[in-house]
Symmetry: C2
Subunit: 169 residues, 2 copies
DNA sequence: TCTTGACCTGTTATGATATTACATACATAG
DNA sequence: CTATGTATGTAATATCATAACAGGTCAAGA
């Protein structure tokens, strides 16, 4: 691993909406994915790796069938399970997230960091930013606890306008 | 409106998981729905009203096709748009909510109260409770604001075990 | 070496969720 | 009563997701 990961591009918060070196951003995420899977013994096979690369191309969410079309065009299988299985693997490994509101998937920008993600979805440019939801998650858990409810998984998403698209309205 | 709405059954928080007079609970919600729609001029037609009654039967989320089957059995149309349109109306009027995680709909238990709902979804008994999400929502908006993102709609849902089902595990 | 078993990939088929487009009915304002 | 907007009904289609099974790869263990 040549990159010791101490570069300015990675430090910026809320990367997705800000101008940033996305080539670095995505390359870095891929490298971390390789390191992580190597460490846990999970197998980042060619389809899975390629699916992740596709998700990493942009800070958007892609539907399973979008990913499938891309994979099929590159010689992988062209039936839905091919995409769903690769995406399921990525989600399980914490390398991608499912965006419930869009029935779609987006690459994780903090792989391996054990974070509570919230997603900010721009309804104009469809950019999806991964924000920190630990505060919201704590509030939600506190409220759930009052009802005796034990939280296992949370979905925290916001739909609205990103800073770039706000300016144009 | 005979009911002046000052009864113990309604005051309890987190109704869905607690034992409560659900006949009252649902009857009350329906009455409020009528008052609200009358006040705004929205038309709570027979299909729409019936769809709401169906959602109110239990504190669960029903898929559009479940609602459709019920409606069709009672003489309403049996094509998907019949259900989707009625549900869309209810959601627009704040009489029902969509549960993104389940691709399903649940009746609002606080119609007309302008609240920020979070949903607690039991993975065992499939009960869906509507909790207060104002804290979580504020955290989320604060985080979004740091990124310059303007929140318009939020999805805040938790999947886990309700107090009743926890006891049995 | 051969076999076994775990896992991955691929395919067919089907199921589940949701929308578009168009036709008909029905209210109410003019 | 007639025009207009709104609501309902239907057919057709689009989109999202899974079940079930077949074949391939690879490494552990007989
Ligand atoms: Zn980037
Ligand atoms: Zn935008
Ligand atoms: Zn109730
Ligand atoms: Zn339960």
């Amino acid at each position: 691993m040549p990159d010791t990961h101490d570069c300015p591009g990675c430090a910026a918060p809320d990367l997705a909406f800000a101008a940033h070196d996305h080539a670095h951003c995505s390359h870095d995420a891929l490298e971390r994915a390789e390191a992580l899977t190597a460490a846990t013994g999970a197998r980042l096979t060619p389809v899975r790796r390629r699916a992740l690369e596709i998700l990493l191309e942009e800070h958007k969410a892609l539907g399973a069938y979008d990913v499938l079309a891309r994979l099929a065009a590159e010689g992988f299988g062209n039936q839905p399970p091919v995409a769903y299985r690769a995406l399921e693997f990525l989600v399980e490994q914490g390398l991608a997230h499912r965006i419930q509101r869009l029935n779609a998937f987006t690459a994780c920008v903090h792989p391996g960091e054990d974070h509570a993600p919230a997603f900010l979805i721009c309804r104009a440019c469809h950019t999806v930013a991964e924000a920190e939801a630990s505060g919201a998650r704590q509030s939600l858990e506190a409220e759930a606890a009052r009802a005796g409810f034990q939280v296992e998984r949370t979905t925290i998403e916001a739909l609205g306008l990103c800073p770039n698209c706000r300016g144009q309205a």
